[in-house]
Amino acid sequence: MEGLNEEGQWIVLMGLLVAVAMFFLALIVNQSALVGQTTAEGVLEFPKNDIRDLRTEIFDCVDEFGDTVDADVKKDIVVISLERKNAVVDFSVDPEVEISGGRWLHPVKIHYNNGVTVYDETVYY
């Protein structure tokens, strides 16, 4: 055994290290697919545009009727939301109140629930 050169042993050791590293990387990659899916679902499922559309409709309503929103118009908004967006919505418009700065605005309460996202807002319009 005298003439044997052992200086190349680190190559074998590095091979072992790389193998161990690959094992853990594989574990992480396996998990990341799941995390990516749930995150993507979370973003996709949030009904941002549905809520925006609903707010726009309600504000148009307030522009038109003030705090005495026509019952049929309100019913239409509720029914159409349920039929097309599968969302239970409700809103109410109260008489104008004075807010800071001497502006008189309607407190508008908006409620939206589609089974995954529940959204409640009181906005002064």
Partner: protein
């Protein structure tokens, strides 16, 4: 006095060879006997797990069809280690939901389902009424992997029930790579503005445990009054039942 041990008299090359060969053959034998079955089991467990994910993907397609006004959806998926089949809503094996108000039956719907049966493992994974569920074949227990979207809205006291049926024109099953093609030709919305007590009844039995756990969970908030019969514990001013008839064209 120094004793030299350089004596080769008991060293035999053939005995050494036999020892090494014996070790190698023995190791191969052990791996074949114990290692291979473990590998196979691991493979079928992976197949089942992949199918769980595939079913959740199909469930997402179903969500797009039903809740997002998409008329047609197609997903390719690989069915390995088992068989995927469609059970038609009109078949005798289909399970049933009956929704009633205080005066009578509002909707009675046979569901149909998409079902995967594993070959080696005893698992059955099912997509039924928008829920992905798993059970062991011929056992009473079952578990829900992904929930459907029934909900109760407390401020408006509205209870929303979704019923999704699977319909086919012919018997279909698949092993290997296939594409699940689904369309939604029609949906029906039933609104009841004074339902009184809402009762939901599930008949069929295979997934009664999963549905019990779901319907009595806080998100839906019902209580079991009779076996597989559930009533709302909170007052309902408005009952909304949406029935979706999904057609499966191919898997």
């Amino acid at each position: 006095m120094r004793v030299t041990m350089d004596n080769d008299r008991a060293v035999s090359e053939s005995i050494g060879f036999i020892l090494i060969l014996g070790l190698v053959v023995g190791s191969i034998g052990l791996v074949t006997l114990y290692g291979y079955p473990v590998l196979l089991k691991e493979q079928s467990t992976t197949d089942v797990r992949n199918m769980e994910r595939a079913m959740i993907v199909v469930q997402n397609d179903l969500k797009s069809l039903c809740y997002k006004n998409v008329p047609y959806k197609e997903t390719s998926l690989q069915v390995s280690g088992g068989t995927l089949e469609v059970i038609n809503a009109s078949s005798a094996a289909a399970e049933k939901f009956r929704v009633s108000n205080a005066t009578g039956v509002v909707a009675e719907v046979k569901l149909g389902r998409l079902e995967y049966r594993s070959d080696r493992e005893n698992y059955v994974i099912t997509l039924e009424n928008g829920a992905v569920m798993k059970r062991q074949a011929d056992q009473t227990g079952s578990v829900m992997l992904a929930e459907p979207r029934w909900f109760y809205d407390p401020p408006t006291r509205t209870f929303v029930v979704y019923l999704i049926t699977f319909n086919t024109t012919e018997y279909m099953s698949k092993t290997g790579v296939g594409a699940v093609k689904m369309s939604l030709p029609q949906k029906v919305t039933l609104v009841d503005d004074d339902p009184g007590t809402v009762t939901v009844e599930y008949t069929g039995g295979d997934y009664s445990t999963a549905w019990r756990n779901y319907l009595t969970s806080p998100s839906v908030g019902m209580a079991e009054t009779d076996p597989n019969t559930y009533e709302n514990t909170t007052p309902v001013d408005r009952l909304v039942v949406k029935v979706y008839d999904v057609w499966v064209h191919d898997i």
